[in-house]
C-alpha cells in the first residue's frame, strides 16, 4: 500500500527536485542563451538573462568557418561504431562471467576496471606510436577502436550486472530444449536483457560522444569529431564566448535530443533489477 504523503510534503520535495534540476541544467541553459548574444553582450556585467537583442549571427559565423556536418558525421560514426563494436565483444564476455563463472571471474572483472584507473596521458606516447606505425592516426576506424577499448570495461560491467539478474534456470531450460550456445545468447538471453543492453548502449554513446582526450589527440583534420570542433573555438587571446557557446550548443544538441527521447529506456535500464 502506498504511503500517505501530505500535500505540503509533496510541494517541498517538488520544489527541491526542481531547484536541483535547474541548478544542474543551468550551465547548459546559460551556454544556450550566450550563443544568441553578441560578443560584447556575452561579457556584459551585470549579465543580461533574457532581455537582450537575440541574434543568430554566431551560428552562421561558426558554420561558415568550420564544417559542422563533417565533424558531426565523425562523431556519429565514432560513438555509434565504438559502442556497437563494444557490445559485440561485451555480450559474450558478460555472458561467460555471469553464467559460467570461474574462481578468477571477480579478479578478471576487477582487473578490467583497473585499466580505467590509469590517467590516459600516461599511455599517450605508446598509443600514438602504435597508431602512427599502423597508419591509424586521424582515421575514424582508429578512433572507433580506441573508444571501444576504453569503454569496454564499463560495458562489460554494466551488462554483467544486468545478466546476473536473469535467472540461470531459464537458460538451462533453453539448453534442455536443445538450443545451441549462440541461439541461447541471441534468442533467450538478449531479448530478456534488452532494457539493460539499451541503457548500456545509450550511456556508452553519450560517453563516446563526449570523450575529449583521445579524440583530440589522435585526430587532426579528417577524423576530428565534435570535440575538436568545440576546441577550435577556445582562444587564449581574444573573447569568443558567444561563438564558443554556439559551437558547444551545436555539438551537444544531437546527444541531448537523443537522451531526451530515450530517457525512459535509460531510467528503466539503470533501475533494472532494483526491485525483486
Amino acid at each position: 500500500m502506498a504511503r500517505n504523503v501530505s500535500t505540503q510534503r509533496k510541494l517541498v520535495t517538488t520544489a527541491i527536485a526542481w531547484t536541483i534540476g535547474i541548478l544542474i541544467f543551468f550551465p547548459i541553459l546559460w551556454t544556450f542563451l550566450t550563443s544568441f548574444k553578441t560578443e560584447a553582450q556575452a561579457i556584459a556585467s551585470p549579465p543580461a538573462f533574457l532581455f537582450f537583442d537575440w541574434t543568430t549571427e554566431n551560428y552562421f559565423e561558426v558554420q561558415s568557418r568550420s564544417d559542422y556536418f563533417k565533424h558531426f558525421m565523425n562523431s556519429v560514426v565514432v560513438s555509434f561504431g565504438s559502442t556497437l563494436l563494444g557490445l559485440l565483444i561485451a555480450i559474450p564476455s558478460a555472458w561467460a562471467m555471469a553464467f559460467a563463472p570461474t574462481k578468477r571471474t571477480k579478479d578478471v572483472l576487477m582487473w578490467m576496471l583497473s585499466t580505467k584507473m590509469m590517467p590516459p596521458v600516461g599511455v599517450l606516447v605508446p598509443m600514438y606510436l602504435i597508431f602512427r606505425n599502423t597508419g591509424l592516426l586521424d582515421t575514424r576506424s582508429g578512433l572507433v577502436m580506441v573508444l571501444t577499448l576504453i569503454n569496454l570495461p564499463i560495458i562489460i560491467w554494466m551488462l554483467y550486472t544486468y545478466f546476473k539478474e536473469i535467472p540461470g534456470e531459464i537458460l538451462e531450460a533453453a539448453r534442455m530444449d536443445g538450443a545451441s550456445l549462440a541461439k541461447e545468447i541471441i534468442y533467450v538471453l538478449t531479448p530478456m536483457a534488452i532494457p539493460g543492453i539499451a541503457s548500456t548502449l545509450l550511456l556508452n554513446i553519450i560517453l563516446a560522444w563526449n570523450e575529449a582526450f583521445w579524440t583530440l589527440n589522435l585526430s587532426a583534420a579528417k577524423a576530428a569529431p565534435l570535440t575538436a570542433f568545440i576546441a577550435s573555438y577556445s582562444s587564449p587571446e581574444g573573447l569568443f564566448y558567444a561563438k564558443l557557446s554556439a559551437a558547444s550548443t551545436m555539438a551537444i544538441a544531437p546527444i541531448l535530443i537523443l537522451g531526451w527521447f530515450s530517457q525512459k529506456q535509460l531510467v528503466r535500464g539503470l533501475t533494472f533489477g532494483a526491485v525483486k
Binding site: 568557418r65 602512427r132 586521424d138 589527440n217 587532426a220 576546441a231 577556445s234 582562444s235 587564449p236 587571446e237
Partner: protein
C-alpha cells in the same frame, strides 16, 4: 597509333594525373583573431598555387601545444605547418625537430623582419620559423580616469608611479579597480607577467650556474609589491584572471590600467567590442630604474616539422602568410588596424598604418626594447624574457605559477610561496641534471 603519339599521350596523362593530385598541407593553428582572418583569406594563396590545398586544424593553445609536441616528438607527420611560439622554436630547432626556412623566395625580404623577433626565431644563424604576428607587453590605461584623478601617464612610467596611480583610481564601490594583472596559474599566464616583471625588479630565475634565485631579495621585492598592489587596487578573485578575463574586465570599464600583451590594443580600441574604445591610452611597461622594463616578447610563428613530406609547398605557404603582400591584402580587405602586428619594420614605417593604429608606436617600442638574450639585470644562462627556453620550463613555470597564485589568493604568505618555489625548482633542476 604510332609510338610517338602513344608516348606523348602517356606523358600528358601522367602530367595531368600529377596536376590533379594536388598536395594538401595540414596546418595546425590557434584560435586567435589574426589566424582566423588568415584562414578566410587563403583563397588568395590557393588561386596563385592551384596545386596546393589547405586543411586547418584549429585548437586551443594548450591542447595545440600538447598535440603538436606529441606529434613532433614521435615524428607522427600529421602536420606540415605548425603554429608555435618563441618558446618552442629554439628548443625544437636544437632537437632537430624543425626544418630551417631557407626557401622563402627572393621577394621575402627577411631583413625587414623586426630584429628582436627574428633573433628569437633564429638558431645558429638559421631562421626556423617565420613570425605571423609578434607581441610585447605594455600599459593600457583609461585616459578619462587618469584625468579625473588629476594624473598624467608618462610615456615610460616606473612601477612606483603605476602603483600610486592604481591606488588613487580605485573606487571599489563603483567596481573600478586601479590595475588588472594576470593571476591565473600557468607558465604562459601569471608566470609570463611575473617573470617579465621580476626582470624589471632585478630578479632572475637562475644564476649563471642554474641555481634557482627565488631565495634572493629581488624576487621577494617583486612578489611582495605585486601581491600588495593587487590586494589594494586589483579586482576581486584576481588569482583566477588570465588574459581573457582581464580583457573582459577592461572592455567593460572595470580596470584603470592593464599591463598585458600589445595585441590586446586592437581589441580594447575596437568600438564593437569595447565600451571604453575611445578612452584608452598606451605607455611602455614600467621599470624600477634598474635598466630593464618588464616587457616580454612573443611571436606566433609558422614552422615546418622535420617529418613533413611536403616541405617545399609548406615553405611557399609560410612565405605567403608572413609576407609584406599578405599585410597589404589584410589591409585591403579588413583595414589597416586589423593587420597582424609586430613582425615587419616596413609596417611601422607605413603612414596609413600609423594613422589607423594609435597603438603602433608603443607596440614597436615595446618589441624593440625586449631583449631575449639578456632579459635580466644580472647575467643569466638562458634565453627568454617571460620564460626560460629549456624543455623543463613548462612544468616548472606552471608549478611556480600555482604557488604564486596561491600567494595572491591569500592561501599562503609571499615568503612561503618563494620558499616553496625555490624548493621545487631546485629539486627539478637537480633531477634534470642542470645542478651538479
Amino acid at each position: 597509333m604510332n609510338l610517338r603519339t602513344f608516348l606523348l599521350g602517356t606523358c600528358s596523362a601522367v602530367a595531368l594525373a600529377g596536376l590533379a593530385q594536388a598536395e594538401t598541407l595540414t596546418i595546425a593553428t590557434v584560435n586567435n583573431g589574426d589566424m582566423i582572418r588568415m584562414q578566410k583569406l587563403t583563397d588568395d594563396f590557393t588561386s596563385k598555387n592551384p596545386d596546393i590545398q589547405l586543411e586547418w586544424v584549429t585548437l586551443e593553445e594548450n591542447v595545440l601545444r600538447q598535440r603538436v609536441t606529441t606529434d613532433i616528438a614521435t615524428k607522427g607527420g600529421q602536420y606540415d605547418i605548425m603554429t608555435i611560439g618563441t618558446y618552442e622554436v629554439p628548443i625544437w630547432a636544437k632537437q632537430g625537430w624543425l626544418l630551417p626556412l631557407d626557401k622563402l623566395g627572393p621577394d621575402y625580404d627577411v631583413d625587414d623582419l623586426l630584429p628582436a623577433i627574428r633573433s628569437g626565431l633564429t638558431v645558429d644563424d638559421k631562421l626556423y620559423a617565420a613570425p605571423f604576428y609578434g607581441e610585447s607587453s605594455m600599459v593600457m590605461y583609461r585616459k578619462d580616469l587618469f584625468e579625473k584623478a588629476g594624473l598624467t601617464m608618462p610615456d615610460a612610467p616606473n612601477w612606483e608611479f603605476i602603483a600610486d596611480a592604481a591606488r588613487k583610481i580605485t573606487d571599489k564601490n563603483n567596481e573600478i579597480y586601479g590595475i588588472c594583472l594576470r593571476g591565473k596559474a600557468g607558465w604562459g599566464e601569471n608566470m609570463a607577467f611575473l617573470t617579465a616583471t621580476a626582470n624589471a625588479f632585478g630578479a632572475r630565475w637562475f644564476d649563471e650556474n642554474w641555481k634557482p634565485q627565488f631565495d634572493q631579495p629581488e624576487w621577494k621585492n617583486a612578489l611582495d609589491f605585486y601581491v600588495k598592489l593587487m590586494n589594494d587596487a586589483g579586482p576581486p578573485g584576481a588569482s583566477s584572471n588570465g588574459f581573457n578575463e582581464n580583457l573582459s574586465l577592461f572592455q567593460t570599464g572595470k580596470c584603470g590600467m592593464w599591463i598585458d600583451a600589445t595585441v590586446a590594443a586592437s581589441f580594447v580600441t575596437n568600438p564593437k567590442e569595447s565600451t571604453v574604445a575611445d578612452k584608452v591610452g598606451f605607455a611602455l611597461a614600467p621599470d624600477t630604474g634598474l635598466g630593464k622594463r618588464g616587457n616580454w616578447l612573443w611571436a606566433w610563428s609558422l614552422g615546418i616539422p622535420a617529418g613533413s613530406q611536403k616541405a617545399d609547398a609548406a615553405q611557399k605557404f609560410i612565405a605567403w602568410a608572413t609576407s609584406k603582400d599578405y599585410l597589404k591584402l589584410v589591409a585591403e580587405k579588413e583595414g589597416w588596424a586589423n593587420v597582424p602586428p609586430g613582425t615587419r619594420k616596413s609596417l611601422y614605417e607605413n603612414p596609413e598604418y600609423q594613422k589607423a593604429a594609435p597603438f603602433a608606436k608603443a607596440t614597436l617600442e615595446s618589441i624593440n626594447s625586449a631583449d631575449p638574450k639578456n632579459p635580466a639585470v644580472k647575467p643569466v644562462p638562458y634565453v627568454g624574457v617571460q620564460f626560460v627556453a629549456i624543455p623543463e620550463f613548462q612544468g616548472l613555470g606552471t608549478a611556480v605559477g600555482q604557488v604564486f597564485s596561491a600567494a595572491l589568493a591569500g592561501q599562503m604568505s609571499v615568503d612561503q610561496a618563494l620558499a616553496s618555489a625555490q624548493q621545487l625548482t631546485t629539486r627539478e633542476m637537480t633531477k634534470a641534471g642542470y645542478i651538479k
